[in-house]
């Protein structure tokens, strides 16, 4: 009997060894420090220096892709995010091995494929990368893939709070409009409008001012007089530049990616069961929001200026998505705790009649119980380099070469950051530019 207990103890030791692994949140601190110092290159290097975990491949690609984008290497970012997309597709199928491990160890042993909103964001950022490189047709491919993915997600979970992505829909509308595909643009703008309306309570993002103007302009362009009248009345906007006028000019479309997405932390409880003498532990993830001092951006060329509107609240989307999944995560954690306790109980009662074998069984039971407790960690993996919020501004200008000023303002109107960007605009051309801005204080709210 004692011989059979050796592998049990070995397995318990292995499990305990695994428990020594830090949660994901604990491994990214140096990356966060570099981001807070506005050093994305150092942040990318620090992230790549981490010891990669096989199950985190998609997560690593997502974070690296975003850091490459922050560095300004849009082509590398696109390549990396494309790899993430391919890996998600491969990992969507169920793995029995991973399911078994997740019952024996924890949820973090399953391959990470991202939440629904994170998967959509992969496409959205690839599209933005292409747009900033002036490649409209590949951005349009991403727009079609976003539509396909959102349709699939809506079919799979129609009651999810994240059944639509308002900003991604809005961006696809901008892409179609740039392609002069008016009807597709109109449909996408309408879907974005509906999503902003339906998700106002959940995500707190009002209909962006730019989208209001876009809806009226496109409705006019398509001779949808009744619909255009309705938008004018609802939004209280009477005059908007026509599509023809817009095409005589150029346009700058600025996106600001402010702050960082909330960070997942572990909340755990360990108790001693007085009846059995064994420890019971449950560990669950929860999000902690990051500080967001950014309020709006002002883009100006001489006296002509535009103020940005908030188009996506990633922070709220992440929080609501996790909230909707908590019942399932909690149920899995409770089941895992029960299974681990049964295993420890079985080991401690496996002794024979002799006192020595009983003692050995007790040791085995204790070892398994300790390993079970130590391996119970919450899955705190998340695409933490996503911004907390995304803002968008549109500025129409006559064709020409400009030095454009971008001022980022805080909640008290103070200027957080200013920069000059040189832009050359042709007639009917849209130029896409972006700024990533992260506050120096990334301490999470209590």
């Amino acid at each position: 009997m004692a011989a059979t207990r050796v592998p049990v103890l070995g397995a318990a030791a292995c499990l305990a060894g695994l428990a020594g692994c830090a949660t994901f949140t604990e491994t990214i601190q140096s990356t966060e420090v570099s981001l807070a110092r506005h050093q994305p290159q150092a942040a990318l290097a620090a992230y790549k220096n981490r010891t990669p975990a096989g199950a985190d491949r998609v997560l690593d690609l997502m974070n690296e892709g975003m850091l490459e984008r922050m560095v300004g290497d849009f082509d590398a970012s696109t390549r990396t995010l494309e790899q993430a997309k391919g890996a998600i597709e491969e990992l969507r199928a169920l793995s029995l091995r991973e399911q078994t491990l997740s019952v024996a160890l924890n949820d973090a042993s399953k391959a990470f494929i991202g939440e629904d909103f994170e998967q959509v964001m992969v496409h959205t950022y690839i599209a933005l990368n292409y747009l900033e490189r002036g490649r409209l047709d590949p951005a349009r491919v991403e727009a079609l893939q976003i539509d396909l993915l959102l349709r699939e997600k809506a079919e799979e979970a129609p009651d999810s709070p994240y059944v639509e992505d308002a900003f991604s829909r809005y961006l696809t509308g901008i892409i179609y409009e740039d392609e002069r595909e008016w009807s597709d643009a109109m449909i996408a703008y309408r879907k974005a409008y509906e999503a902003y309306q339906n998700q106002l309570e959940s995500f707190g993002v009002a209909i962006p001012e730019t989208l209001k103007v876009d809806l009226i302009r496109l409705a006019d362009r398509m001779d949808l007089a009744e619909e255009a009248r309705g938008y004018r009345k609802t939004f209280g906007i009477s005059e908007v530049p026509s599509e023809a006028e817009l095409l005589e000019r150029g346009e700058i479309i600025l996106t600001v990616h402010a702050g960082l997405a909330p960070m997942k932390r572990e909340r755990s409880t360990t108790v001693l069961n007085p009846n059995t003498g064994r420890f019971l532990r449950i560990a669950l993830p929860h999000y902690r929001s990051r500080p967001q001092p950014f309020a709006y951006a002002r883009v100006s060329v001489g006296p002509q200026a535009a103020i940005s509107s908030r188009v996506e609240n990633v922070d709220a989307i992440a929080l609501k998505s996790l909230e909707s999944e908590m019942p399932a995560i909690t149920a899995r954690a409770i089941a895992r705790m029960a299974i681990k306790d049964v295993a420890a109980s079985a080991a401690s009662h496996s002794g024979g009649n002799s006192s020595s074998s009983n003692a050995a069984a007790g040791v085995a039971g204790l070892a398994i119980n300790l390993a079970a407790v130590l391996t119970e960690r919450a899955d705190t993996r998340s695409w933490f380099t996503l911004p907390g919020e995304i803002h968008l501004a549109r500025l129409s200008l006559p064709p020409g070469d400009y030095s454009m000023r971008v001022d980022l303002h805080g909640r008290d109107q103070e200027v957080l950051d200013s920069s000059e960007i040189k832009v050359s605009l042709h007639k009917g051309e849209k130029k896409y530019v972006s700024r990533h801005w992260i506050p120096t204080n990334l301490e999470v709210k209590p």
């Binding site: 494309e82 597709e89 199928a93 169920l94 793995s95 590949p138 349009r140 893939q145 396909l148």
Partner: protein, 202 residues
Amino acid sequence: MSRRPSLRASLALLALVAAAGCSTKVERLDESQAVDLSGAWNDTDSRLVSQEMIQDSLSRAWLQEFKGRPGQNRPTVIVGEVRNLSHEHINTSTFTLEVERALINSGKVDFVATKGERKDIREERKDQDINAREDTRNAMGRELGADFMMTGTINTIIDPSGDTQVRFYQVNMTLISLADNRKVWVGQKDIRKLVTHSKLRF
């Protein structure tokens, strides 16, 4: 005691088998052999569509009509842009090259260099003007102008349901007369694929 060595041997064998399963394996394929892995647009689609399109194009009336014009023998064609309007990132330059190859190898049309290629060639001629021996120089202004331009689009409709998708590809090609903007030929090739994703993995 005698069981231990056999257990070790078995474990070693298992490790070897596992290691063998992880090593990279390369198998050379015949270029005409169709291999569908992900269900996305691939080299087979590109080759089949270009071949069928060109065969159709060269069997139509525009070619005979052009040859029937006084002083004309073979039309000169240029391939313009093939726009990817599909759900996938498709390397349209591979498809364009397939079309060019099929057209040139037919021997029924002349083919001129693309916009980008022409720029390089003109620079080379300029260089020849300065550096090449006079009897080997190629003069400027003697280029062959194209009579027709071929353009196209690749479109898709995807109908997903759970793990299954029906992918419908439609490739449209148009041949336009550069003299008067007449569309002299319009070709269309459709491909339908049923793609089923695995529900389980290792």
